[in-house]
């Protein structure tokens, strides 16, 4: 009988035992506890055996730039190519800090197998069909000084560029997980390394300009004080609602504030009439009263994560080679000071440049672009050609 079967039997037994009426026989209770302990130990043993079995396929160990890599023979070539590309991009972004990663960051590229495939049938839909064992995806895992960093799954067959991009994403998390407080949670435990595309920047501009928070909108409109407050660069304001929102924002804020999982609990203390007056009838005073009864934690920094990332990325760009190292040094009194240290310029200068960059990313006029116009005209021309040759009277 395999360990797996033993564990299953013990779980079943445990479940049955739990369903029995309360026992008082000490011998029986001792026997039950022993069985539970055995089940627990077997579960962890099974996990470790699984890990050993999975790792046994990782016979290739190599060093690519700053990365120590473990992978399978089948993935060796593509891994080398993709990690070389990722290493070059990471060096560009991290500067001299990249070298300090060497020897600390280990990447594991592991095959994920499947012995079935999905088959699509009309009316029935997708069903599983048994098939020869094959690779369906590849998991990219990382550890930094032995600490696990969240990994990613990449579709197989692999494309070098896609794997390199995913590698950078993992590196962003690896570096972001080891930043000094208070900037680590401010950056959502991720240090952005990749340059933003024009589309991403335009999307960020749109998000900021139509934000739920007045302070963010004012920031994009050119108010640097609003930016400083919206980013919470110095400290979190004492009265977050007044500092970040204006009257017109309050009904929506009252509807959305707080962690969705905890909203029910938070709103228990607030009368239904007050909630209705605020959310339903949009009475600003009712909203003020309602929001005043919510804890401060219900109001998070209004500047979205993407904006914070973009500010941090700008700081790294301005700061150059040693920027990441400076950012990782703790001791700064505020987020603004920490970013300014990384950038090597004042917080005001950093904000000024960031605002200029955001303003430049404002989407162009929504006039259709040339490729759309050409595609439309081509389609129209083909249709006209078809129509001109037609003989509908036949």
């Amino acid at each position: 009988m395999s360990d797996r079967h033993v564990v299953g039997a013990l779980f079943a037994l445990g479940a049955w035992a739990g369903a029995l009426p309360a026992q008082t026989d000490p011998a029986l209770l001792a026997r039950r506890d022993a069985l539970r302990a055995r089940a627990d130990s077997l579960t962890s043993r099974l996990a470790s055996l699984d890990a050993i079995a999975r790792d046994s396929a990782l016979t290739v160990t190599m060093r690519v730039g700053v990365f120590a890599v473990r992978t399978t023979p089948a993935l060796q070539e593509i891994a080398r190519a993709a990690f070389t590309q990722a290493d070059a991009e990471a060096r560009r972004a991290l500067g001299t800090f990249a070298d300090s990663l060497g020897g600390h960051l280990t990447l594991t590229l592991r095959e994920q197998h499947r012995a079935w495939r999905a088959s699509w049938t009309p009316l029935v839909g997708v069903r599983r069909v048994a098939e020869k064992d094959h690779i369906v995806s590849v998991s990219l895992e990382a550890t930094l000084d032995g600490r696990d960093v969240p990994g990613v799954l990449v579709d197989y067959p692999l494309a070098r560029g896609e794997l390199a991009t995913n590698t950078l994403a993992v590196v962003e998390r690896a570096v972001g997980f080891n930043l000094a407080a208070p900037i680590e949670p401010w950056l959502n435990h991720r240090l952005p390394l990749r340059a933003a595309s024009d589309g991403w920047s335009a999307s960020l501009y749109r998000t900021l300009a139509t934000s739920d928070a007045a302070v963010v909108r004012h920031c994009v409109a050119g108010d640097s004080v609003a930016c400083r407050v919206g980013f919470a660069l110095d400290s979190l304001p004492r009265d977050r609602v007044s500092a970040w929102y204006d009257a017109s924002d309050l009904p929506t804020l009252a509807r959305t504030a707080g962690d969705p999982m905890q909203r029910g609990w938070m709103l228990q203390a607030i009368s239904n009439d007050l909630q209705e007056a605020c959310v339903g009838q949009r009475q600003v005073e009712a909203c003020r009263q309602m929001l005043a009864r919510l804890p401060d934690e219900a109001f998070r920094i209004p500047m979205p994560g993407a904006a914070r990332e973009s500010l941090a990325r700008l700081a790294l760009e301005i700061g150059g080679a040693g920027a990441v190292s400076r950012l990782r040094q703790g001791g700064a009194p505020s987020i603004g000071a920490q970013l300014a240290a990384a950038a090597g310029v004042s917080t005001d200068e950093l904000l000024r440049r960031w605002m200029a960059r955001v303003a430049a990313a404002r989407p162009a006029s929504p006039l259709p672009n040339a490729s759309f116009v050409l595609a439309s005209l081509a389609c129209i021309a083909v249709c006209y050609g078809w129509a001109a040759k037609g003989k509908p009277w036949n």
Binding site: R117, A118, S119, W120, T121, P122, V126, V129, Y205, R206, A209, T210, S211, D212, R217, V220, A221, D246, A247, S248, D249, P251, T252, R362, P363, S365, P366, L367, P368, S371, F372, V373, A375, S376, A378, C379, I380, V382, C383, Y384, W386, A387, A388, G390, K391, P392, W393, N394
Partner: protein, 220 residues
Amino acid sequence: MFRAILYTQWKWARPVLLLAMLVAGYIPVDALRAAPYKSVDTYHIPSLYLGITSASVYYQLLALGVAVVVAISTWQADGQRRHVYALSLPVPRWRFVLLRFGAGAALLGTVAVAVGLFGALAAALAPLPPMLHAYPIGLAVRFWLGALVPFALIFALLSSDPRRVRLLVAAVVTVIVVDLLLASLGTTEKPLILGWVLDGLYSGRGPLAAFLSKWMLVDV
């Protein structure tokens, strides 16, 4: 000559075009209703933006609907008389088709102009905050081009040799059936050709790409 053709097509499609213009006037009013017509400071920008984003779909539906009706009405009268009158006119067929197509495009243009004018009017009445701007011309151009593509497709189908259309439909049905059969035999995870066709039509460069993007009267 073009004026004569335009007049007939206007007469045939007039009720729908007038209705479309009315709808074109109503959509921005409905979208900007979130904005009180008093001052910039008192309304909620995200709600306003959401309303305008939702209106994008109504503009697209309007463009599609009016394009279909104009295309059908363009050929209906000729089709009823088996094109005898059109064929007795002293103009080459390609030119007659061009005149009909041009007139249809012009009529769609009138609705696009209405979209632009009403959009500009509504945006002028609802004072926009500094972060938001009205783009009635961009919207009108997008509306016109967006409507022209389905108009051209239906126009081409309706002015085709019925045998050709039957052949085309038969080919499409055959491809779909073969595609579904192959998929059901387990060769593919999902219908391949249909997937390609839909991807092609709706990709960024496909002829229906216009319907993927947002048609915003007001944007940042």
